[in-house]
Amino acid sequence: MSENHDHSHDHNDGHHHDHTPITIDETPGYYEILEISIRELLIARGLIGADEVTKQIEVLDSRSPVLGSKLVVKAWLEPDFKDRLLKDGNAAAEEMGITIYDNTAFTVLEDTPELHNVIVCTLCSCYPRPILGLPPDWYKSKEYRSRTVKEPRAVLAEFGTLIPEDVKVQVQDSTASQRYMVLPLRPAGTENFTQEQLESLVTRDTMIGVTIPKINNN
């Protein structure tokens, strides 16, 4: 009955934004009991407020790759915004009403026809959570973390991405307070796309750098 991280079914029920209190549906395993205990002890001792965790869950739920795609497309459509985004990601995010809540430096890496960026955190799981939300399990896995720095092209190939030999692949290993997001290249043939159509091309994986935006997907 432990919370086994090998569960392979997804809880794909979308993001609920109701404000019901924290509820527990199944019998908790040991680690959930520990989590409940620590939280309740800290609240009882007055170290954290009774609703702080709930409020932070709402903040976490408000961040998703949709935000990143909006930043990317705005940068594609407005060169001045792109300059601001590349120069100071935190300020550019604030322009769009996105607060970087954790004292990290949101840093955007621009792909060019000569350069493809891919992001990893070998030591833990640093990821631009205030923009993209929570990272996927594979990003935190030992396989991704151990291999991406050493053989990025092989890892990208497992995601179906082949970068031509004459395009440089640059791996960014996050070790400090910078939090990286890729600004992918706008695909050819999208000159007449609407903003929404462009945003639908910019999936989460294109902003990590393991895939590139493709017109004929989904």
Binding site: A105, T122, L123, V149, K150, E151, P152, R153, A154, E165, D166, V167, K168, V169, Q170, V171, Q172, D173, S174, T175, A176, S177, Q178
Partner: protein
Amino acid sequence: MITVEHNPALFKEGEQVKVSEKFPIGHYRVPTYLRGKTVTIAKNLGRHINPEEEAFGKNAGNELWYYQVIIAQKDLWKEYLGSKDDTLEIEVFENWLEPIK
């Protein structure tokens, strides 16, 4: 206006430096794969509390300069199989960097 820096950054963008070979215990943020390598300073990232000390509860006080450094993958790995121009960038604090003599 003259600014007087009492704690100037040791290294400049474009400068080549060596990543130290040393063995902290308890906590570190420089992966073993980078130790002893020659890297180039790509960007000065400013100052921050040393994460090695932050990990033991230091939340305020003196800060260290840190840098984004870059290295060619073919110089980093003995058998790098990708393109010869591929690179890796990583952030390193000043206490881990030495000038090249």
